[in-house]
């Protein structure tokens, strides 16, 4: 692990100070221990600014958006559309209406599968995924396969938990997929895939590219135009935003050519008893009353995160990851599931010999440390690795090196606690 320079310390301070903006970080867990929240890959916490932005909407100017002529509706509409602008800027979209607000990353991928997928994928066509995808980026394609009879191919990972450009290239060559859908950062391995390079290779093979950026957008600067990806999805709740909202980014030409998904108010141009015509972007994909307060909360979250600086965030997470990774690798009976820290963001998954991940998690919780245990919605990856469950510590900017150390210390205790001691059951 490299030492902190003076300039590192300067950029770190605002991140450490940010803890004060997160009320929940001050609490204790069931056992009375102070909370050490290392479950950020599942969902992050909210700063007061986000909670207040939504409260402010409800307290001061809320009404349904779209075409309301009265004051509140005008104000709500303006705030809702301004949130779209913020989101578009945050990910570097060319125009605002390429940003569609959905219920979350899962809803976003399903939208693409049911619209672009149903119209462009046919029997025998191939969709290429990686074995490390989240269920959200597997099941919608398996459902599409049930509907249209396409095939799904999975890119394997190598012994270092990585996928080389050559493997990507060869698979695209061999399968000629219509779609290559992959995660920008694995929620288990932590691996950060080279999105721009793979997108280029895929485009060279005429594949459309969908990026699951659920674990990327919150943690490093993302520019969808630089990536040149066709579709990009992520969730609000993983970037300090509210639940109930996510984003589907799509290139305008693609979105324009796609049929609508959900039918209802706002997505129509005209409805007659004989049929309907579709509204222009973004309304076309936003049927019904949208997540108004959630969009406003998400914009506040993006502003908050931007002010801290995504490069600073990425650096700090990386350092915590390095420290945790090194410590775990040095422990007897602990195995890190994932590549070396230089290849990953702030996620470290691991297994402890002879202790089930649930017991690890429960044991750590006793010391206040929150980590996830299970298959993390990546059963194919776990099956591929030959394990049923793993434990995962995942960091965000408000975590500290000290918390990393507490986590490691507690894990050592847990290991000891569950070590076999030749106990005997009471014979009745």
């Amino acid at each position: 692990m490299t030492a902190l320079t003076a300039s590192d310390e300067a950029t770190l301070q605002p991140l450490l100070d940010s803890r004060d903006d997160f009320p929940v970080l001050g609490r204790t867990t069931a056992s009375g221990a102070p909370l050490v929240f290392l479950d950020n890959a599942a969902s992050t916490q909210r700063p007061v600014a986000v909670i207040e932005a939504m409260g402010d909407c409800y307290r001061n100017y809320y009404a349904n958006v779209h075409r309301g002529i009265h004051t509140l509706s005008e104000e709500s509409t303006a705030a809702y559309e301004q949130s779209r602008t913020v989101a578009a800027n945050f990910i570097g979209a060319a125009v605002d209406h390429e940003v569609i607000f959905t219920a979350g990353a899962t809803a976003s991928i399903n939208t693409v599968a049911r619209t672009w997928g149903d119209t462009n994928i046919g029997p025998g066509d191939v969709i290429l995924l990686t074995i490390a995808e989240h269920h959200a980026n597997i099941v919608p394609w398996q459902q599409l396969a049930q509907r249209v009879g396409c095939k799904i191919e999975f890119l394997p990972i190598d012994d270092d938990f990585l996928i080389s450009d050559e493997v990507v290239q060869a698979a695209l060559q061999k399968h000629q997929p219509k779609l290559f859908a992959f995660t920008a950062a694995s929620n288990v391995l932590g691996t950060e895939n080279p999105v721009k390079r793979w997108t280029k290779i895929a485009h060279d093979h005429d594949a459309i590219v969908l990026i699951d950026a659920a674990q990327a957008v919150p943690h490093r600067a993302v520019n969808v135009q630089d990536w040149d990806a066709d579709f990009v999805v992520f969730s609000g709740h993983k970037v300090c935003g509210p639940t109930g909202i996510g984003v589907l980014y799509g290139k305008q030409t693609l979105l324009d050519a796609m049929p609508p998904f959900l039918g209802g108010g706002a997505m129509i141009d005209e409805v007659k008893t004989s049929g309907f015509t579709t509204a222009a972007l973004p309304d076309k994909f936003e049927a019904g009353t949208p997540p108004i307060a959630e969009a406003i909360g998400l914009a506040a979250a993006m502003q908050y995160v931007s002010e801290l600086g995504l490069d600073n965030i990425a650096n700090h997470e990386h350092r915590m990851c390095e420290r945790a990774d090194a410590a775990l690798r040095s422990m007897d009976g602990v195995k890190v599931i994932g590549p070396t820290p230089d290849k990953k963001g702030g996620i470290v998954s691991f297994q402890v010999d002879r202790i089930h991940a649930h017991d690890v998690s429960q044991g750590l919780d006793h010391d206040g440390i929150a980590v996830r245990a299970g298959h993390h919605c990546t059963m194919p990856l776990h099956e591929y690795l030959g394990v049923t469950a793993t434990s995962r510590a995942s960091f965000y900017f408000y975590n500290t090196m000290d918390e990393v150390d507490q986590f490691i210390e507690s894990l050592a205790k847990v290991q000891k606690k569950f070590a076999p001691t030749g106990r005997r059951r009471k014979r009745s």
């Binding site: 349904n64 958006v65 779209h66 075409r67 309301g68 002529i69 509706s73 005008e74 509409t77 303006a78 559309e81 125009v95 605002d96 209406h97 324009d256 108010g265 706002a266 997505m267 129509i268 141009d269 005209e270 015509t277 509204a279 222009a280 972007l281 973004p282 309304d283 936003e286 019904g288 009353t289």
Partner: protein, 152 residues
């Protein structure tokens, strides 16, 4: 009207609404288009007579809708009289809102921009080309891009 009245119903707006400029059909039109804002039911029809140099000799509108949409159409007809095709094409949405002269909320801007959209469409729709199929929803088909949704 009291001084606190919203500007958008200012005297000269209501004047245009009640006493519009060139409202009605123009039988000798060389270019024509019609469209609506289905979200509120505003309809505007525009007939233009252009000479061979692409200069507007006469510009007429007809329509049905709110004060904003109809008064702004009247202002626009007055404005473009005698202008060339190029001048009209260079006339931006922002200039249209400026022509109206009173700040409008986003929802009402759509009302104001309806006639502007139809005008741009009319320039590309010579009467000979047959206009039957543009009637319903023609404007929308020609003018893509983002819109505000309908009300709920």
């Amino acid at each position: 009207m009291s001084p606190s009245e919203p500007d958008i119903y200012a005297e000269h707006v209501l004047d245009h609404y009640e006493d519009p400029y060139n409202r009605g059909p123009l039988d000798t039109a060389t270019h024509t288009d019609e469209g609506k804002n289905p979200l509120c039911g505003d309809v505007v029809h525009i007939d233009l007579k252009m000479d061979d140099d692409g200069k507007i000799i006469e510009a007429w509108f007809d329509g049905d809708g709110c004060v904003i949409s109809q008064a702004s159409a009247s202002m626009l007809m007055e404005k473009i009289d005698g202008k060339t095709m190029e001048e009209i094409q260079a006339f931006t949405a922002d200039e249209m809102l400026e022509l109206f002269g009173h700040p409008l909320t986003p929802n009402r801007q759509k009302c104001c921009l309806l006639s502007w959209r139809i005008l741009q469409g009319a320039l590309k729709s010579p009467v000979a080309a047959g206009d039957d199929d543009v009637e319903s929803n023609g404007a929308r088909r020609k003018f893509g891009g983002p819109t505000l949704g309908e009300e709920t």
